[in-house]
């Protein structure tokens, strides 16, 4: 069974149709790249999958492990295994990153019928993962994303992914605003999380990221739907030719 199956998805914001019939099947253990020009609805798709309020699905459906997720709240989707790495992670003043991580881990454990994580165990777990991602301990004490650089925000997001161990992760333009070093760290973090049953949807405008996170399938997204799919070579073709053909076609 496919991990994610999107069937003829139409969606709008304030009455304006953004998604115009998206079809996408993602098998367990695969990495899909979604590429396309800006303003065509790529972020809308990621927001709808993760259940952000403010979008109206007018037609079609999204299945997670064969189950329609339409009625699920954002936190239910998260606990069911959907993770969104944000394009612009929001700042939450006053809430220490470690407090936030603990709350998220405990929410997941509760969902799994487990008790709260032991303080020492949590400490060990977080420090270990943070070290792997090159995140300094003092960042964990700072409020969530407050005063973080662009790279730090993205790394913090990947740390959350590593701790929450989602089934399906969406990286929404994670590469935007990253210098080459940060890009490498983030990519390595993602690659280390690739397993036989975990899948990724990597949304990006540039081919650059895909030379670090090599996708199994590449989709071209334009005019509110997927207009072409292919292997990794498609990304290189896009890099060379640009999106002009697709923009005019859509």
């Amino acid at each position: 069974m496919a991990l994610i199956e999107i069937q003829n998805l139409h969606a709008s914001v304030d009455g304006k149709e953004i998604l115009k019939g998206v079809d996408l099947v993602i098998e367990p253990g695969t990495v899909h790249a979604l590429m396309g020009p800006n303003g065509t609805g790529k972020s809308t798709l990621s927001n709808i999958i993760s259940g952000r309020p403010g979008y109206q699905v007018t037609e079609g459906r999204i299945l997670l492990n064969g189950e329609d997720i339409a009625d699920m709240e954002p936190d239910q989707r998260a606990n069911a295994g959907i993770f969104l790495a944000f394009q612009y992670p929001v700042e939450i003043p006053g809430v220490a990153s470690s407090t936030f991580l603990k709350a998220a881990i405990n929410a997941k454990r509760r969902f799994q019928g487990l008790g709260e994580i032991d303080a020492m165990e949590f400490l060990k777990l977080v420090k270990g993962k943070a070290k792997e991602l090159g995140i300094r301990d003092d960042m964990l004490k700072r409020p969530v994303n407050v005063g973080f650089s662009g790279g730090e925000k993205k790394r913090a997001d990947i740390l959350q992914m590593a701790l929450l161990q989602p089934q399906f992760a969406i990286l929404d333009e994670t590469d935007s605003g990253l210098d080459i070093d940060a890009l490498r760290v983030v990519s390595e973090g993602v690659n280390s999380l690739r397993t036989a049953d975990r899948s990724f949807l990597v949304i990006t405008h540039y081919q650059r990221l895909l030379s670090y996170i090599v996708p199994d399938v590449v989709h071209v997204f334009a005019g509110g739907k997927i207009v072409r799919s292919g292997g990794p070579e498609l990304a290189e073709e896009l890099e060379a030719k640009g999106y002009a053909d697709y923009v005019s076609a859509a």
Partner: protein, 483 residues
């Protein structure tokens, strides 16, 4: 939107009153109503000296000429001052309890339910507790240990009898009897409260704490607290308040006076959780409190921290008169109002001395159909050269039926003084809420976390014992200890 609804529900949960139980102890009450006879009765019950009775009578006579203030943004039916009991004491043994063993076990059980660290194990926490139950002080723990250090920590009644020279010198010196309607009433009928004197140069090694609880029906509670930190002294004082659920409104009009001499410091923390009334605004405490500190000495400091979640009506402005050169006043406040609660609270920082500094951090959270006002005054007198004030007032609105108001008065008469004031009003951002929920937190948890973050600057100023209770009140878990 679902998220908004659950936000509102969360606030309801936060505010669900946990302390609505009542202790059945036969009490010793004065007749209902207020008159010179009642004032005399209270004074007699307290075995007070003649000067104290005269002081009370003077206040009472002046109070008769005063009118209840109307300027606050508060709406409530007229209070019938004759329809309340002004003295209610739990019946006790002839000589009063001398130690915890003699305190009525049911009372102790009440305190236990309240989570008050009254028992022996709390010695570890280093807290000395004076518990005021309705109108009288029940027991002061660790009296001996404090005595040895020269600290006086006792009920105000005892202080009037045992330390008249200190009481006469300082009582009413910060909040004069005629200061306002409620302080004047309090001066006439106060029944108990705490007295603290920290001798020169002593840094009080334990936190001192008083719990106030209104138990009797139709009882007004009028406690009076007086704290004096002599030169170079330091004390951290904690005050907690609860009351049982009742349909009728109960009056609470306290006066707190703080005095700091040269280089002295008082840290005064309050978690006020009087019964707020039900969701329709029935019942709840009317809380009219005058709290004021006089920083008389050079480089003295007073820090007020308050977490106000209870009461139907709150009228409270803990203030600092910064007389001594270089003295410092700080005010940290979290106020949460829900349902039909109304709070008009804030502070006054009166800069009189040179190089005086003040800081005001106020976080207001309004939900339900509640109304909340921050009202503050910063006054820089002409002689207060080099004075500094920084004020930050933030309001968070939850739901579209509540109100959040900010009314600061800034008066500056010295060119070398600098004042800065910032205020904001907003709701929890959808982006923050979604971010948290995308990481698996329920809307309730997300709101709790975000509100906690919003209040953090204030909550972190609380002593640990109180921080825990306060954070519980704001529905949050303790900050992680990572790092």
């Amino acid at each position: 939107m679902v998220a908004t609804e659950s936000t509102i529900q969360t606030v309801k949960d936060i505010e669900r009153y946990k302390y609505g139980f009542e202790t059945d102890i036969e009490s010793d009450r004065a007749p209902k109503g207020l008159s010179e006879d009642i004032v005399r009765f209270i004074s007699a019950k307290k075995e007070e000296p003649e000067w104290m009775l005269e002081w009370r009578l003077k206040a009472y006579r002046h109070w008769l000429t005063m009118e209840e203030p109307q300027w606050a943004s508060l709406h409530y039916p007229p209070i019938d001052y004759q329809d309340s009991y002004y003295y209610a004491a739990p019946k006790r043994r002839e000589d009063g309890p001398k130690s915890l063993d003699e305190v009525d076990p049911e009372l102790l059980a009440t305190y236990e339910k309240l989570g008050i660290p009254l028992k022996e194990q709390e010695a570890l926490a280093g807290v000395a507790v004076d518990a005021v139950f309705d109108s009288v002080s029940v027991a002061t723990t660790y009296k001996k240990k404090l005595n040895d250090l020269g600290v006086i920590f006792c009920s105000i009644s005892e202080a009037i009898r045992e330390h008249p020279e200190l009481v006469q010198k300082y009582l009413g010196s910060v909040v004069p009897q005629a200061d306002n309607f409620f302080s004047c009433l309090n001066s006439a009928v106060f029944t108990d409260g705490s007295f603290v004197y920290i001798p020169k140069g002593l840094r009080c090694p334990m936190e001192l704490s008083t719990y106030f609880r209104i138990n009797e029906k139709n009882t007004g509670q009028f406690e009076r607290t007086l704290i004096i930190a002599d030169e170079g002294a330091y004390v951290s004082y904690l005050e907690g308040c609860t009351a049982p659920q009742r349909d009728e409104n109960q009056l609470h009009a306290a006066v707190v006076e703080l005095v700091t001499l040269d280089d002295a410091e008082i840290k005064y923390s309050t978690v006020q959780n009087w019964y707020p009334g039900d969701e329709n605004g029935k019942g709840g405490i009317y809380n009219f409190v005058t709290k004021r500190a006089a920083c008389r000495g050079r480089n003295s400091k007073v820090m007020w921290t308050q977490v106000e979640t209870g009461s139907a009506i709150t009228w409270k402005y803990p203030s600092c008169i910064l007389q001594g050169d270089g003295s410092v006043g700080e005010f940290y406040s979290v106020a949460i109002t829900n349902n039909r609660q109304q709070a008009d609270t804030g502070t006054k920082m009166i800069h009189l001395g040179k190089n005086t500094r003040s800081k005001i951090i106020s976080k207001g959270i309004s939900a339900g159909r509640s109304e909340q006002t921050y009202r503050g005054q910063v006054r820089i007198a002409a002689k207060a050269s080099g004075a500094r004030n920084f004020t930050q007032c933030d309001s968070l609105l939850i739901g579209d039926q509540c109100g959040a108001h900010t009314v600061p008065y800034i008066e500056s008469r010295n060119p070398s003084a600098r004042t800065e004031h910032e205020a904001t009003a907003s709701r929890i951002s959808d982006d923050q809420l979604f971010y948290c929920m995308q990481r698996g937190l329920s809307a309730e948890e997300a709101v709790g976390l975000i509100v906690n973050g919003f209040c953090k600057e204030v909550l972190q100023t609380l002593p640990m014992e109180f921080a825990v209770e306060a954070q519980k009140l704001v529905n949050i878990s303790l900050e992680g200890s990572v790092g």
